[in-house]
Amino acid sequence: MKVRYSINGKKKEFEIEAGEVLLDVLRRNGYFEVKGNCYMGTCGTCTVLIDGLPYTSCTMLAAKVDGSEITTIKGIGTLQNPHPLQKAFVEKGAVQCGFCTPGTILVAYALLKSNPDPTDDDIKKMLDGNLCRCTGYVQQIEAIKLAAKMLKKGDG
């Protein structure tokens, strides 16, 4: 069957199998910035934004979100023009292996949209589903607070 998405602002049409999850459809079509592994919704690595809200793409049926707007990490900033969150993660040493980073940043992005001034607790609650085995989280939390500041000042 066919599905239509808008991915990072571009209209796309894909052939999918019934029962296929969004993560597989995205990676099969070259959206390698979406990572995955657990396929159970427990690690958060595969997070994308669907109509602005974060979902684990490994548990999302590709057919179910037909017609949606999907944002991957490349949709919020690029190497040439990074989003403040991406800059802040770099500055605060919050990227170690970087495998969890796209998912984590997308969740943080959704958080800052709805809560531009989050406390440590707000961040911890929101990021609870995004496992990172490298950083121990402290620098990620610092980075999100720094990004919030940057966004408020309007730089980035």
């Binding site: 657990c38 159970m40 490349k74 990227v95 170690q96 620098q139 939390i141």
Partner: protein, 770 residues
């Protein structure tokens, strides 16, 4: 500390922005047309012989290209441990075998057009097993009459396979029995730490293909690209020359990617079919069939004089290597060699280890590498001695720990699987670490107070640690630098950045040495065709060995630059030259020339040649980093829940080359250690199957599990390391078990002898006390 420009500054990690913007950098971020996908069939029995295996149906299944079993692969015995050659781990493994030694052992592999097809075809393989009695408890392994796990004749390098002993270590200094007899107090205790998994978020993955000359290219997530090349060549029985290993970014390793698990099978299928092939582990396979930490039972006995000085220390380790002996000997060596020298005041020391085979998952290298297990016990018994002598935990450690200028006989007596090398400490800030950490946690106000709030009691505990920096006279790394027109430099080295920031530090070392900016260094790491040799990233060797090699290459480049300048300036003495801010200036005449001008001159104009150099590093020293850990916990006496409130890790890693990255290594390791102390363990069924092999049941910490964490970095200068640096990646995983164990004692007055400190276990101890 010396005066540096780029060393000691928190330069942004050079790959961080690319990773944060989702560039395709990992192994699986490419795809080939006609790529085959591999899936594995695993033994459902802990111990069995395959009596009959029929793969015909699977082979005929549409889309299946090949099915591999012991019948159609060669029988070359080897070890999967990615260690230097000759490997200290026993040769006890085949690509496929008839004998199954644990649930998770490989029966067969299917290569097919898609993963789904491969998965379907697995179901069509018919296997008849003869089930054998299994050993599911490490203490049973060495009992008389125990089933023999490795009874095949080819096995090599195991200590006594007939008795299921993969390795055995015995090291004696002085006379411990006499030492105990002459001590005023003696304390002895035993602690057990469980199976655990590394859980890098990116699992094992390899993609192989043939290049245009028919050579096999292996693109793999590995810590040890050069060992992959050597071991795959060995297993496939082809020359090293036929193989190229490329290491892209790695999504975490922590030791589990120091193993050759998928590469040989993947390469074999590519060699046989000519097609690109991919193997990717699921999370479940990571748990059941990759590698784990060695489960250990550690007994420590310490005898001390009235004044608190240690007179005798004995450590006995029973280690479970699981079904195969990868890292069996060396991890057990480190349980002693990275712990006992810390207390060098004791004249009598004995270290004994038995490493046993069982029919359980295979243990391998894991951050901390045995030291984690050793310290879990040692640092609690040290507290017990203090308690008996009515000294504080701080006093007893200050009296006994190793100091600058000192050595320990253990350094020589116990190396990594062989005799060690004598070491004198040239940098050690332990006293300062203890003082600063104690102050930060509020030790003097809080220790021994047991403040209570309803059913919740608070306690605090501490522990101290050392590790090493690379394996002395074993680990080797090399780096090549070449100069370009704009004074940028290509750095090609074999070092393997697992996310730790090694590539960034390498760039900083080059920048510091050559008076340029780190951005001017273009780093390319780990491609066995293009970069010089390096043993890989393990044993805390990255900064020290790979970084040291980079420094040596840069020093040679400096020489070559000065050589050109001598000619240009007509001055002979290079001590009159300053190399800074991208130019060389004559201190005598003030004349200066930019590095770019030098490059243009040498590439295009006069006496043309390429400024380039290769440096190698191997070291007789393995300078230990040191750490003092402090934790405040709250125990709920009604539920047994242990909650860390605040964790302080004071660390001496020599010169912190990049403080922000050092902070990341400290916090990352100790959070990993915290979860090993509080929640992570394999639950195994009666048949030896891991129960709950997923992130739902095997919980690794998330944001909500972390306490307040305060890393304290104390700079020292280690003369044997690049710009004064020692290692830092491993040491901080060792603290949480003993520090929390000691805090539990402070809070409850009891010891919990089995880790992790899960509520049921803690509650049971609380109840039995009452």
């Amino acid at each position: 500390m010396k005066d540096f420009k780029h060393i000691g500054t928190s330069t942004d990690k050079i790959d961080a922005l690319s990773l944060a913007t989702g560039q395709s950098m990992f192994v699986d971020d490419i795809s080939f047309p006609n790529m085959l996908h591999i899936k594995f069939l695993y033994s459902p029995h802990a111990h069995a012989i395959i009596e009959n295996i029929d793969t015909t149906l699977a082979e005929k299944y549409p889309g299946v290209e090949m099915v591999l079993t012991y019948k159609n692969t060669s029988r070359i015995i080897h070890t999967t441990a990615g260690q230097g050659w000759p490997e200290p781990s026993p040769y006890d493994t085949y690509m496929f075998n008839r004998k199954m030694r644990y649930i998770g052992d490989r029966v067969a592999a299917v290569a097919a057009e898609t993963e789904e097809i491969a998965q379907e075809a697995l179901k069509l393989i018919k296997v008849q097993y003869k089930v054998l009695p299994a050993i599911l408890d490490m203490e049973d392994a060495i009992k008389d009459g125990a089933p023999i796990i490795h009874d095949e004749p080819e096995i090599k390098g195991a200590y006594d396979p007939q008795r299921n002993l993969a390795a055995h270590i015995l090291v004696k200094v002085g006379d411990v029995e006499k030492g105990f007899a002459e001590s005023d107090v003696v304390a002895e205790d035993t602690f057990e730490v469980p199976y655990a998994q590394h859980c890098p978020i990116e699992p094992h993955v390899a993609i192989t293909y043939l290049d245009e000359y028919g050579r096999i290219v292996i693109r793999t997530s590995t810590q040890v690209p050069f060992h992959v090349r050597r071991i795959v060549a060995q297993v496939l029985d082809i020359p090293v020359q036929k193989i190229r290993v490329i290491k892209p970014r790695i999504g975490g390793g922590f030791g589990v990617k120091q193993e050759i698990i998928l590469e040989d099978v993947c390469a074999y299928i590519t060699m046989k079919t000519g097609k690109p092939t991919r193997a990717l582990y699921t999370r479940e396979e990571e748990f059941i069939s990759s590698r784990t930490r060695h489960q250990m039972k550690v007994n420590v006995k310490i005898g001390a004089k009235k004044d608190g000085t240690f007179n005798a220390v004995r450590m006995y380790v029973l280690s479970n290597t699981g079904a195969y002996g990868t890292h069996a000997l060396t991890v057990a060596s480190n349980a002693g060699s990275k712990t006992l020298p810390l207390y060098n005041k004791a004249p009598n020391v004995e270290y004994i280890a038995d490493v046993v085979y069982t029919n359980l998952p295979v243990a391998g290298a894991y951050r901390g590498y045995g030291a984690t297990q050793g310290y879990a016990c040692l640092e609690q018994v040290v507290d017990e001695v203090a308690h008996k002598l009515e000294l504080t935990p701080l006093e007893i450690r200050k009296k006994n720990h190793i100091k600058s200028g000192e050595t320990s006989p253990i350094f020589r007596a116990l190396g990594e699987g062989r005799e060690g090398v004598t070491q004198y400490m040239q940098s050690c800030a332990l006293d300062e670490l203890i003082e600063k950490g104690a102050k930060e946690i509020g030790w003097f106000e809080k220790h021994g107070k047991r403040t209570r709030n309803g059913s919740k009691v608070r306690g605090i505990g501490m522990s101290i640690h050392m590790q090493g920096s690379a394996i002395p006279l074993v680990d080797m790394g090399a780096a090549t630098l070449k100069m370009n027109e704009d004074a940028s430099f290509n750095l090609m080295y074999g070092g393997t950045d697992l996310g730790t920031g090694l590539d960034t530090i390498a760039a900083q070392i080059v920048a510091e040495t050559l008076g340029i900016k780190p951005e001017q260094v273009i780093v390319y790491a780990a491609d066995t065709d293009l970069t010089p040799f390096d043993v890989g990233a393990y044993a805390s060797s990255g900064t020290f060995i790979s970084g040291g090699a980079v420094l040596r290459a840069a020093m040679k480049i400096r020489e070559q630059i000065f050589e050109v300048v001598r000619e240009m300036f007509g001055e002979q003495d290079e001590r009159d030259f300053a190399l800074e801010d991208g130019k060389v200036t004559s201190k005598k005449t003030g004349k200066s020339v930019t590095l770019s001008e030098i490059a243009y001159q040498t590439l295009y104009v006069k006496n043309q040649h390429q400024i380039a150099a290769t440096g190698s590093m191997v070291s007789p020293y393995s300078p230990p980093p040191f750490a003092a850990h402090f934790v405040e916990i709250e125990v709920d006496e009604e539920t047994g829940i242990v909650t860390p409130i605040k964790y302080v890790a004071a660390v001496d890693c020599g010169t912190p080359l990049n403080p922000e990255l050092v902070r990341g290594q400290i916090i990352g390791a100790l959070v990993n250690g915290l979860s090993y102390a509080l929640s992570e363990e394999y639950k195994l069924t009666d048949s030896g199957r891991m129960f709950g092999s997923n992130f739902m049941e095997y919980r690794i910490p998330s944001t909500r599990d972390i306490p307040e964490i305060v890393p304290i970095i104390v700079s020292t200068y280690e003369p044997t390391g690049p710009y004064g640096a020692k290692s830092v990646a491993e040491i901080n995983i060792n603290g949480p078990i003993p520090a929390i164990g000691n805090a539990l004692y402070d809070a409850l007055g009891v010891r919990v002898h089995k880790v992790p400190y899960i509520p049921e276990r803690v509650l049971e101890i609380i109840r039995s006390k009452k």
